[in-house]
């Protein structure tokens, strides 16, 4: 056995704290170490060549690289050793950067001692590593996209255009998402529906896309290339094959104009049978089970009028939820966002003072398809003085610490729309820093100011309060004179979906401190989750404007398409195996395995390697040590424990 040890300086990232020459010299004293070197950047071409040459010239059997986290460069170095003819799984990494030099920057001596220990532990483990063979399995040539907003639409269209079957699952009755609710889009003032609707129609008629609206993903099994997804198609109480979208049922409904319309932020009313908005895709009606008189009481007059009105015989109050299973190779999560509820901060008066509304409510008010057909009015009157308040629920030390990234610009858009529709109106924006960082944003902000919109700056911690005064609202901002306004619009924060805990449990992907889904690397892998084959698109990963959402969604589509195009995938060979002579056939491992990968065959445990995910639960459960995890055996782990604690090796 010949082990090569390579210590990386990482510029000065490691060598600024850890004495790498000392560590490399120390490694030479360890058993089985044939060569030990240090170099400026082990991951660079010359660094890689150094390792390859030594493998070939010295006949190294095992390699240890002491550098950054294996989560960063383990795949890189496994490829390097493989290219030089060594088995990729006889490679081990010691993390002396993230876990050492960066964490102990003022303790050079102790950090160097720790780095030596980490190298010693890795060498001890490496000596016990055995070659493993990779296995390949075919990939199901289909993708699942969860969420039918602009991110999900973009992703689904691009995967489908690449030639792969794509399932698009949306929980509400129509695709379109938040973008469908918007009137105009900053900074170009494109009409949101005009640019979104054609894409929605493209989704509906794409031969590779199967659209599942009013449906929820309830379970995911399997692994990259071979996921099995369970989807609940919620009962619509309308046969979508028969429904022609004529709307006669909604006209006939006894609750017509009496049910709060969530698409219009509850500013308008709808029937109990409805489409969320006129351009809905699919244009198929849905009965709201929470509201429908017949579904709630079993009786609606002599017979439900919707049934009588429907010439297509599409309404079926007996319809039930349907559970289906989909086989897909990759998954893109594009579940979007919710908006901050400003009634959590009573000082804004939201929910108590009629003149105070949110930005999204303003959006519906100003939209031609909204409840006022685009007339900005409050209490039936056109406002003469409008105050916008920014950072409501964002940049909050006690709440969402992050910046929601879109509020500055949507407020500028709203201010412009007020000036556009009510030319004499006075418009004041209370801002706490205007962030106009995107393409065309600064120019738009300057334009809006030139149009006469007054920007007043507050500090984040400054007090602000809105109080009612007859049919007006008085905005009291610290450091500024009080303003009596007809309309106050709150720029509320983008937040993770309220039901995210349920979604997370199904997907098993991590969330960050901000509650948004966590990408595996914030810069280089912004669409990847820690689970291979599951990617992130749009605002479920963090607040984004439409251009950034579309860009990330396209990226996620590209990432999700790669394994589909490859057609097969390497399985991690670090799976469990059974030492038959030691196995008593007790079956504890069978019970412990979360993936049903172990079976008892003729009184002995047997592992299905295609199902095994390598968690090692079985190994920790087995009382006789008969089931072990390749690359992480009890023996290998104990050798690390021993070496880390022994003064001599």
């Amino acid at each position: 056995m010949k082990i090569g040890v390579y210590v990386c300086e990482c510029g000065t990232n490691i060598s600024g704290t850890v004495d790498v020459a000392d560590v490399a010299e120390y490694a030479k004293s360890l058993p089985n170490v044939a060569v030990s070197k240090y170099y400026k950047y082990m991951c660079s071409d010359p660094g890689q060549l150094l390792i390859k040459d030594d493998i070939k010239e010295l006949g190294l059997t095992h390699v240890v690289v002491a550098s950054c986290s294996p989560r960063m460069h383990e795949p890189t170095f496994r490829t390097v050793v493989e290219e030089a003819g060594m088995n990729a799984y006889c490679f081990e990494m010691a993390n002396i950067r993230e876990h050492c030099s960066w964490a102990h920057m003022h303790e050079k001596f102790k950090a160097t001692e720790k780095a030596k220990d980490l190298v010693k532990m890795s060498v001890a483990k490496a000596a016990l590593l055995e070659p493993l063979e990779k296995k390949q399995v075919p990939v199901t040539p289909a993708a699942l996209v969860i969420g039918g907003g602009i991110a999900g639409i973009q992703t689904a269209l691009e995967i489908a255009e690449s030639g792969f079957k794509t399932y698009l699952v949306e929980s509400t009755p129509s695709i379109g998402g938040r973008m469908a609710q918007l009137d105009k889009t900053f900074p170009t003032m494109d009409c949101s529906a005009c640019i979104l609707t054609p894409k929605m129609v493209d989704v509906a008629r794409h031969p590779n896309i199967e659209l599942l609206t009013y449906s929820e993903v309830t379970g995911i099994d399997g692994y990259i290339g071979n996921f099995t997804v369970t989807v609940k198609k919620k009962a619509r109480y309308v046969d979508i094959e028969k429904c022609v979208g004529c709307g006669l049922c909604a006209e006939a409904c006894r609750l017509k104009d009496r049910v709060d319309d969530e698409f219009n932020e509850n500013l308008g009313k709808r029937s109990a049978i409805y489409v969320p908005f006129p351009q809905a895709v699919p244009l198929k009606y849905t009965i709201d089970p929470e509201k429908c008189i017949f579904l709630k009481t079993g009786k609606c007059g002599d017979s439900p009028p919707c049934v009588g009105a429907c010439a297509a015989d599409a309404i079926n109050h007996q319809q039930e939820d349907e559970i289906i299973e989909l086989d897909v190779g990759t998954i893109v999560v594009a579940t979007g966002f919710d908006l901050y509820d400003p009634s959590q901060k009573p000082e804004y008066g939201y929910g108590k003072i009629k003149n105070v509304i949110t930005g999204m409510e303003f959006e519906r008010l100003v939209s031609a398809s909204g409840p006022t057909e685009g007339h900005i009015e409050i209490n039936g009157k056109e406002p003469e003085k409008v105050v916008f308040i920014q950072c409501v629920g964002s940049r909050d030390k006690e709440g969402n610490e992050y910046c929601s990234r879109v509020c500055c610009m949507y407020t500028a858009k709203h201010a412009h729309l007020v000036r556009d529709k009510i030319p004499g109106a006075e418009v004041i924006v209370y801002n706490t820093d205007v962030r106009a960082y995107g393409k065309g944003f600064e120019e738009f902000y300057v334009r809006v100011m030139d149009e006469g919109v007054k920007y007043l700056r507050r500090e984040l911690d400054d007090q602000i309060e809105v109080v009612e005064n007859g049919d007006k609202a008085i905005v009291k901002a610290e450091g500024h004179p009080d303003i009596e306004a007809d309309l106050v619009v709150l720029a509320t924060a983008i937040e993770q979906k309220k039901d995210i805990a349920d979604i997370s449990k199904v997907l098993k992907i991590s969330r960050g401190a901000d509650n948004f889904f966590l990408e595996i690397h914030p810069k280089l892998r912004p669409m990847d989750t820690a689970t291979s084959g599951i990617f992130l698109g749009g605002c479920c990963q963090g607040p984004k404007d439409i251009p950034d959402t579309v860009a990330q969604a396209s990226g996620a589509a590209a990432k999700a398409t790669i394994p589909l195009a490859q057609g097969k995938i390497d399985l991690d060979p670090q799976t469990s195996f059974v030492i038959e002579n030691n196995c008593a056939g007790c079956g504890l491992c069978v019970e412990a395995c979360p993936y049903s990968a172990i079976e008892l065959m003729d009184g002995k445990a047997e592992v299905n390697e295609a199902l095994c995910r390598g968690c090692g639960l079985c190994s920790a459960t087995c009382r006789s040590g008969a089931i072990q995890l390749k690359g992480l055996t009890d023996h290998q782990l104990i050798s690390m424990i021993k070496s880390s604690l022994s003064e001599v090796f």
Binding site: S69, K108, M121, P594, A620, D634, I641, S644
Partner: protein, 147 residues
């Protein structure tokens, strides 16, 4: 505190950490990337899941002279392997009783839940655990050492 003179001015505890790949190891990585400083006392061994930690490893660490053992995994409900951390919790809660039985102060052993985004929490856990072990002094019961 700069210690470049190399003098070992006082006793430093030796702590073995078993960290799951998906949450806690990544959280420790984030602490480093964010340059959050914590004591050099811990040596982290990466396992794929906290549920991989066999109670035997904990005993072995104490026998070999560890002064403290820390096992860290994903928050309950967030396990990458569905329920591995629950297995870990069940198994390792019993560990505390066993340690008490063998005469090792059970507070030398700790389980923690650290997610991939909790670099700060990771550093706090290691710092507090180190302080606790420092107060307890060297572990000699299982290692057979003199302390």
């Amino acid at each position: 505190m700069e210690d470049e003179g190399g003098a070992k001015e006082s006793w430093e505890p030796k702590i073995i950490g078993f960290f799951c790949n998906w949450c806690s190891y990544a959280g420790a990585d984030l602490a480093g990337t964010s340059r959050i400083q914590y004591p050099t006392t811990i040596r982290i061994i990466k396992v794929m899941c906290s549920g991989r930690v066999n109670p035997q490893f904990v005993l072995k660490a104490f026998q070999e002279g560890a002064d403290g053992v820390l096992v860290s995994g994903c928050h309950p409900g967030d396990c990458h392997y569905i329920e591995g951390n629950y297995h870990a919790r069940r198994k390792l809660t019993l560990m505390e009783d066993l340690l008490e039985f063998t005469g090792v102060d059970p507070s030398r052993f700790q389980m923690s839940w650290v997610s991939a985004s909790e670099g700060q929490k990771f550093a706090e856990v290691v710092t507090e655990f180190t302080e606790r072990i420092k107060k307890l002094g060297p572990q000699t019961k299982l290692s057979g050492g003199e302390g």
